[in-house]
């Protein structure tokens, strides 16, 4: 864990509001992601998670509030400058048709290449590292279009990692992965945070996986942060009932002592049979 007070946040959001109607999609979110931090953004469908991610990476402009990347307002950056330090793994992978896996990962180096038209040895080495990290190193010549959903999700992660970002934002990075790769991807992020001081923001539907790996969680409900802080403070039955409207049982999982959420099925009020 990082002692937050001493470091400057890599990515910070202050009073973010998005949408002009009476019920904004994102409504007053404050958020800080420090180097070496994994922050999980959780909440029910339509709570504004993906919109928040769009605001954090500068694709959307907030109607109020400010996002700062490495201490500077993100709106002052050009797209290329943002991409040099901030990587994004979107939920639906957009891939260049016909490209091999290696070509797809190399394209992640775009922002670092400046006016160069062709990748050099350093770009190639970074791409190979990213491929090894995501377990794709043996598939480099396969066409991206031939991959399974899980492989494609790892490929998009590899493309983002190839740029060696300082901040990485991920939208449901494990949704199409089997158990093995869910763990691998999360451990990989954890390692990158510890070793390279990567700052990670992660949108997830999997509360238990988020609790296991995130240092802090933000629970969104109708665009507003309902709770924010360490997993054990955020993942309480009261908060989950307020956000999701479901009853849950929260206990400690035995490996890391993090909170574990179990759903309580609703009691049938009346069973005619």
């Amino acid at each position: 864990m990082v002692v937050s007070g001493k470091l400057k946040p890599a990515l910070a959001a202050e009073g973010l509001v998005f949408g002009y109607s009476e019920r904004p999609v994102v409504d007053g979110v404050d958020l800080e992601i420090f180097p070496g931090d994994i922050v999980g953004i959780i909440g029910p469908n339509g709570s504004g998670k993906s919109t928040l991610l769009g605001l954090l990476c500068g694709l959307l402009t907030p109607s109020q509030g400010l996002v700062s990347l490495l201490g500077r307002p993100i709106q002052e950056y050009g797209r290329e400058e943002v991409a040099q330090v901030l990587g994004v793994v979107p939920q639906t992978p957009e891939l260049t048709p016909g490209f091999s896996i290696l070509e797809t990962v190399l394209i992640g180096r775009f922002a670092l290449m400046g006016r160069r038209l062709f990748e050099d040895a350093e770009d190639l080495a970074a791409a190979r590292r990213a491929l090894t990290l995501t377990g794709l190193e043996n598939l480099t010549d396969r066409r991206a279009g031939e991959l399974s959903g899980g492989e494609r999700q790892r490929l998009v992660l590899a493309r983002a990692l190839a740029a060696e970002p300082k901040v990485l934002l991920l939208d449901e990075p494990t949704s199409a992965l089997d158990l093995d790769y869910q763990l691998k991807v999360m451990s990989l992020l954890e390692k990158a945070c510890a070793q390279e001081n990567l700052a990670v923001g992660l949108v997830s539907h999997d509360l238990n996986l988020a609790a296991m790996y995130c240092h802090r969680l933000v629970l969104l409900s109708q665009g507003r942060p309902l709770a924010q802080g360490p997993p054990e403070k955020v993942l309480t039955p009261e908060n989950l009932l307020a956000a999701y409207g479901v009853k849950t049982l929260v206990d400690q999982e035995p490996t890391r002592g993090r909170p574990r959420v179990t759903l309580k099925p609703p009691q049938p009020a009346f069973d005619p049979l």
Binding site: R79, A83, P90, G98, I107
Partner: protein, 334 residues
């Protein structure tokens, strides 16, 4: 094939050599047979006065050069449209952009005795306006579905055809043959001044597009992916559209509506060299040049001594090609 400077250089060298051989071959073919030996002696300047030399200098060389330049221009335009609209069936003629350029050119001619420069400028404006219209329609969905693309193109072409027919109705019968041929894509009126106008535009435009080839790789993945990787999407698209409008506009102005080159050539190149625009763009340009030189030579010789508009040749190959792509893959790339 992964794009490296060596590979791009090698491909360009090979295709330039191929283009040169095609030009040499096609210079000799035509109503008047000229042997390769005669072509070579003419090329090295030893004969300048006999009838063969006059045919070569005055007629065949300008026409072949214009065919090569138009082929290069249309092929690169097609490749760019396919990337930006993310649809493998996009092409200047099918999209109606060529039609827009033709309408612009015809309108300029209607309004007065416009010079070549003014007509070309009007064609450029017509092409650009059509592209912006097509993009406005595509924008609603982010990418252009095949049905939208084809329908938009058909409607735009219908509108411009009616505009052009209106102009034709007001012209004299003598010009009618020339205009009809021009509408089907015709290079028979080529002169060397036209090649001098188109040459720098194709070369300059091609080099600029090549400079944006990495951007095109990303744009063909999607606007969002491109923006996240660091592309200033709106700005780059606008620049690409300006270049493509200029290429397409001037080409249409000089050679008429030659369809399907921009569809067939990039696809044939992709089958061999892959999808990376750093290889695709220069290769499509050079191969497209050879392709249209061969197509135009066929148009000159098939019913010799009469001639066909070259657009008839490209459409007779391209329309089945389009249908085959549509039947086999729809709008999918793989």
């Amino acid at each position: 094939m992964r794009a490296t400077p060596a590979r791009v250089g090698l491909v360009c060298l090979g295709l330039t050599l191929f283009l040169f051989l095609v030009l040499l071959l096609c210079l000799g073919l035509g109503t008047a047979d000229i042997s390769p030996a005669q072509v070579l002696t003419w090329l090295f300047g030893t004969i300048t006065e006999n009838s063969a030399a006059v045919i070569l200098t005055k007629f065949r060389l300008p026409r072949l050069l214009l065919a090569a330049l138009a082929g290069a221009s249309l092929s690169m335009c097609g490749a760019v449209f396919q990337g930006v609209l993310r649809n493998p069936l996009a092409e200047p003629f099918i999209l109606g952009v060529s039609g827009g350029a033709a309408a612009g050119a015809v309108l300029a001619l209607l309004l007065g005795p416009a010079g070549l420069g003014l007509t070309a400028a009007a064609a450029f404006a017509g092409a650009l306006a059509t592209i912006l219209l097509v993009m406005g329609i595509a924008r609603r969905h982010g990418r252009m579905e095949t049905s939208t693309l084809v329908l938009t193109g058909v409607m735009i072409n219908a509108f411009f055809t009616s505009a052009i027919m209106f102009v034709i109705s007001t012209t004299t019968d003598q010009k009618l043959h020339a205009i009809m041929f021009w509408l089907y894509g015709d290079l028979s009126g080529s002169n060397i001044e036209q090649a001098w106008l188109l040459g720098p535009i194709v070369l300059g435009g091609g080099l600029l597009l090549f400079g944006y080839s990495r951007h095109l790789n990303l744009l063909s993945a999607g606007d969002r992916a491109a923006a996240l990787a660091g592309v200033h999407v709106e700005k780059v698209k606008l620049i690409l559209f300006l270049i493509v409008s200029l290429l397409c506009g001037v080409t249409v102005c000089l050679s008429g509506l030659i369809g399907f080159v921009g569809l067939m050539v990039p696809h044939l190149v992709r089958m061999v060299l892959g999808h990376d625009y750093r290889l695709l763009l220069p290769a499509a340009g050079l191969f497209g040049a050879s392709f249209l030189v061969l197509a135009d030579t066929a148009a000159r010789t098939v019913i010799s001594p009469a001639q066909l508009p070259v657009g008839v040749v490209t459409a007779s190959l391209g329309a089945p090609f389009f249908l085959m792509l549509l039947a086999r893959r729809g709008s999918r790339w793989w």
